[in-house]
């Protein structure tokens, strides 16, 4: 029997508001344990929550960017459960009237565009962190750090429209891209500001009814989500093919072993006893407010990609990579504005710039070479002042020394030798000095040319115009 995979994702993202969702404490990551706390986020007797208006604004921004309907009337609810990282033993969340519903986003997999539905986006508070004295099973005690307690979260729930682990990864990348574009979240999975739970089930191809699903938690990177789903897909297929039954349960992803493991049986589903949060008033948003936020939205990745393809003639692939994050796309736009040719600009951005940023663990917003300087350097290549090869050296020097390309080219004497007479003399001298290579060439060994080019480049310290060297060498060797 052939099976079809059905995946739905729940993404939790921490919002980068300055203060927590229901109190004035900072949301800053890190800090000494239990220093970013107050009576409200510690859930002390008598405290009351007050909604941070910025959280609502960010939620609406996100909803609009994900093509959702924004609810004019929504409310908070309490989700009751006992856990020591949850000081009130309930989480203030949204249950039946979330702030955003019924949206979608488009992903691209294998050159095809696919639309994934967004069921809902809702606001809630984050929990604290347990620090165990040993491993989870043998700890004598655990300590609680409440610094993250009350940090605002959005939960973004997808429709079960995802069919492959690869689509799941593309969906997550798209979510991350959109959230970073609209500047509501840092989306740092390693700091826990983006988290993902995945629901996956299999059903025989052609069957409409969903199979029993497993929920996978504790997945810490996009790659891991894909791997976990691939593993789970295989596991479920094996169980079903052998006539077995999938148990509805929560499974945790063990990244080092590459397997999912059963956590607890969800058949005795936990009863969260949701009910409306009586300490907060319902959230009423009017159309004017929504439209004002809509007007403040930046150009989103899909629109930007389409624009760059149309205006600059870039390939879909290049445009996708360049528009994946807003700062990257901004940098690209700045290069074009400074006069750089689009394809060269894209290649430099995806090549040397990204390589050095990664090597230095830098964000493009702190790139030491400003776009205007890079555009100036690209122009030097085009004019033939420097070769593409030398340009890499020039770029590294710009990166390290902060100087402009013309200054570096001048200081280090890196101007390309394109004078036919001058270069011709060097070619002739090299031919004269290497009779063996000439003989090899005449004997049909094409490799000999490479050796001779290398000699010429060495003598010119790499400044020789490579095309010209090739032509001159061929002419002189074959006597044409």
């Amino acid at each position: 029997m052939k099976f079809e995979t059905v995946i739905g994702l729940e993404v939790h993202t921490e919002l980068k508001t300055a203060s927590k969702i229901f109190c004035g404490c900072t949301t800053e990551f890190g800090g000494d344990q239990n220093t970013h706390v107050c009576p409200v986020c510690l859930g002390l007797p008598g405290v009351l929550p007050v909604l941070n208006e910025k959280v609502l604004e960010f939620a609406i921004r996100t909803g609009l960017a994900l093509n959702c309907k924004i609810s004019h009337y929504s409310k908070f609810d309490r989700k009751n459960y006992y856990y020591p990282d949850l000081p009130k033993n309930f989480q203030t969340s949204q249950y039946d009237l979330p702030i955003c519903e019924g949206g979608y986003l488009d992903i691209e997999v294998g050159g095809e565009t696919k639309r994934i539905g967004i069921t809902r986006v809702h606001m809630e508070e984050d929990a604290g962190k347990l620090v165990h004295s040993g491993t989870i099973s043998n700890s004598e005690y655990a300590l609680v750090d409440y610094n993250r307690t009350g940090v605002p979260l959005l939960e973004i729930v997808s429709e079960p429209d995802i069919r492959t682990p690869e689509e799941a990864k593309a969906y997550l990348e798209k979510i991350k891209s959109i959230l970073s574009y609209i500047d509501v979240s840092d989306c740092k999975m390693e700091e826990g500001s983006l988290r993902c739970d995945a629901n996956i089930s299999l059903r025989p191809v052609g069957q409409e009814q969903f199979g029993t699903k497993a929920e996978i938690k504790n997945v810490n990177s996009f790659k891991a989500v894909q791997r976990a789903l691939e593993y789970e897909q295989e596991r479920q297929e094996e169980v079903l093919s052998e006539g077995g039954r999938i148990i509805q349960e929560t499974r945790t992803w063990d990244d080092s072993r590459g397997v999912t493991l059963s956590m607890r049986n969800k058949e005795q589903a936990q009863d969260y006893r949701y009910f409306p949060e009586p300490d907060l008033v319902p959230i009423v948003v009017d159309s004017e407010q929504i439209e004002a936020i809509r007007r403040s939205l930046p150009e989103l990745p899909d629109a930007r990609k389409a624009r760059i393809m149309k205006e600059q003639g870039l390939s879909a692939y290049d445009a996708e990579v360049i528009t994946a994050t807003r700062p990257m796309a901004d940098y690209f736009d700045a290069l074009i504005a400074a006069g750089a040719e689009a394809k060269a600009a894209a290649n430099w951005l995806m090549g040397e710039v990204s390589k050095l940023l990664n090597a230095c663990s830098l964000d493009i917003r702190s790139c030491p070479v400003p776009p205007a300087n890079l555009a100036e350097m690209i122009a030097l290549i085009e004019k033939g002042t420097i070769s593409g090869k030398i340009a890499k050296t020039v770029f590294e020097a710009m990166w390290n020394e902060g100087k402009t390309a013309p200054v570096i080219v001048k200081e280090q004497g890196l101007v390309q030798m394109s004078d036919e007479g001058e270069l011709g003399n060097i070619v002739e001298a090299v031919i004269a000095a290497n009779p063996q290579s000439v003989a090899d060439f005449n004997a049909g060994k094409e490799k000999a040319v490479g050796f001779l080019v290398g000699q010429i480049m060495r003598q010119t310290k790499g400044r020789a115009n490579p095309e010209l060297v090739n032509r001159l060498l061929k002419e002189k060797l074959t006597g044409k």
């Binding site: 002390l44 007797p45 009351l48 006893r273 949701y274």
Partner: protein, 488 residues
């Protein structure tokens, strides 16, 4: 003269005329408590040093000729479910027996800003759940008029302290009648303001959508003064009302001429003590004689109020009290793992009534029961609100009994929770509707005070006080103080 016998506004006059000092007033009240509190047991925590220090500051201010508020230097008490920074706030629960809040409730801050003197934290039914203070995790407060009887609850300590002269005024909280019942049983004035009129920030929650802080006082004018000091919008409480606070004493002497008084027939329940019913009806006749117009009104959903209350209040309580788990603060029981620690902490820390209500509320919210209980209760609550809206379309205020009987004997109802719950049948509807309601002494039966309830529409506190004042001035109930044997 015994300063503790005077009203706040009388003391204020003496203070402004420099006939007495705030320290002398405070000393008088503290000395009275020294002599009667071993009998009445109003207080869980007394704060005489802080009270005297505060009184001294007020005297210094007066000496410098600085302007002070009407409550400046006047000693009062807080129900022990209101947070006081650095002073134990126990909710009369073993689970918070040693809890010292690191912050002040908004009302605590407001009273400090008004230079009021706080002499202690008053006893209550544990977490404000009860009608007699017998559910206190520590001890039972006694009714100053008959120490074999309960003072009412849950704010029994606050009511008894004012009636016994251990405080000139006090604050209580009212979720289903917890200010009005002890006010009636102790023969003082008690007011539950409109929901949201007084900030709940720092009031330890029992049932968030019903809880409201309000004053106890010896007469209506004092009640108006205290209400003025604690009311107002608070950005720390999202449910607080953003409306200006009027001078609640301004309309006191306006009389009741032309005022329409509604008599809700459903509030005169079967099994009422005849003297209580007679006193209420007589009081209404008097108000009519003073110029008010009587209209009989019907509030058909009143009979469902008690059941509705015990679903909504317990549901909210089951969640509000989740935080008492032994992890971050409060009593921690010994356990080999987290779950057994939770269980021991809560089993040891909570008394039987609190445990009963947590179970009721947990059940009402459970999946499969939610629609039949909690959701239905919310719908009935809306119907009850509509009863009030309709009634207030016809009348300015409603007059009803506070409770079917006068104060009952200690121990009389402890074995029968349902009988205890029925005590609140006349007070609960106004909590469900969020409207203000006042309890005013209107007579005695066998030496025990009877309370009359005056209920008004949202933010009509000034009108309630006006009606109450008019009635009060025609009687001398407010001039009587319970006779308590003083013990040296």
């Amino acid at each position: 003269m015994d300063l503790f016998r005077l009203k706040a506004h009388e003391l204020q006059q003496k203070l402004f005329r420099r006939e007495v000092s705030a320290v002398e007033i405070t000393q008088s009240v503290l000395a009275r408590a020294d002599k009667v509190d071993s009998t009445i047991q109003s207080f869980i925590t007394r704060t005489p040093e802080a009270a005297l220090a505060q009184a001294k500051r007020v005297d210094e201010k007066l000496a410098r000729g600085e302007a002070v508020s009407p409550l400046a230097g006047i000693p009062g008490a807080l129900k022990d479910n209101m947070c006081t920074k650095g002073v134990k706030t126990t909710c009369a629960s073993k689970i918070l027996a040693n809890f010292v809040p690191p912050y002040d409730a908004t009302i605590t801050e407001k009273l400090a800003a008004a230079d009021a003197v706080i002499v202690g934290k008053a006893n209550l039914d544990e977490f404000a759940m009860g009608s007699s203070t017998e559910n206190s995790g520590f001890f039972v407060t006694r009714n100053p008029w008959d120490t074999d009887r309960v003072p009412g609850g849950s704010s029994g300590g606050s009511g008894a302290a004012v009636a016994a002269g251990e405080a000139i005024w006090s604050l209580g909280s009212d979720t289903g009648g917890s200010i009005r019942l002890p006010a009636a049983y102790c023969g003082v004035v008690g007011l539950k303001p409109t929901y949201g009129r007084v900030s709940r920030y720092g009031l330890v929650a029992y049932a968030s959508s019903l809880d409201q802080i309000g004053p106890f006082a010896r007469d209506v004018r004092d009640c108006a003064l205290v209400l003025g000091a604690i009311s107002g919008h608070d950005r720390r409480d999202s449910t607080s009302i953003n409306a200006p606070v009027p001078d609640y004493t301004a309309k006191l002497e306006s009389g009741v001429k032309g005022l329409k008084i509604g008599l809700p027939r459903e509030y005169f329940v079967a099994g009422m003590q005849p003297e209580v019913e007679a006193a209420i009806r007589r009081s209404i006749d008097e108000l009519v004689a003073m110029g008010a117009e009587l209209v009989e009104v019907s509030m058909p959903h009143t009979q469902y109020a008690l059941a509705t209350y015990y679903l909504i209040a317990t549901a909210e309580a089951s969640s509000n009290l989740g935080r008492y788990d032994g992890v971050g603060f409060g009593h921690r029981g010994e356990g080999s793992d987290i779950v057994s620690m939770y269980k021991r902490s809560r089993a040891e820390g909570f008394g039987p009534e609190v445990q009963r209500r947590i179970m009721l509320g947990t059940y009402a919210l459970s999946s499969g029961y939610y629609d039949a209980y909690y959701l239905k209760a919310l719908k009935v609550r809306t119907l009850i609100k509509q009863d009030f809206d309709r009634a207030f379309g016809q009348v300015d205020v409603l007059i009803a009994p506070i409770a079917p009987t006068t104060a009952f004997k200690i121990g009389e109802k402890v074995e029968d929770p349902l009988a205890m719950y029925l005590v609140d049948v006349c007070t609960i509807p106004s909590n469900l509707a969020g409207v203000p309601a006042l309890s005013l002494p209107c007579g005695f039966a066998d030496g025990l005070p009877i309370g009359m309830q005056i209920i008004g529409p949202h933010l009509s506190e000034a009108t309630l006080l006006q009606v109450a004042y008019t009635f009060e001035q025609a009687h001398d109930y407010h001039k009587q103080l319970a006779a308590i044997r003083e013990v040296d």
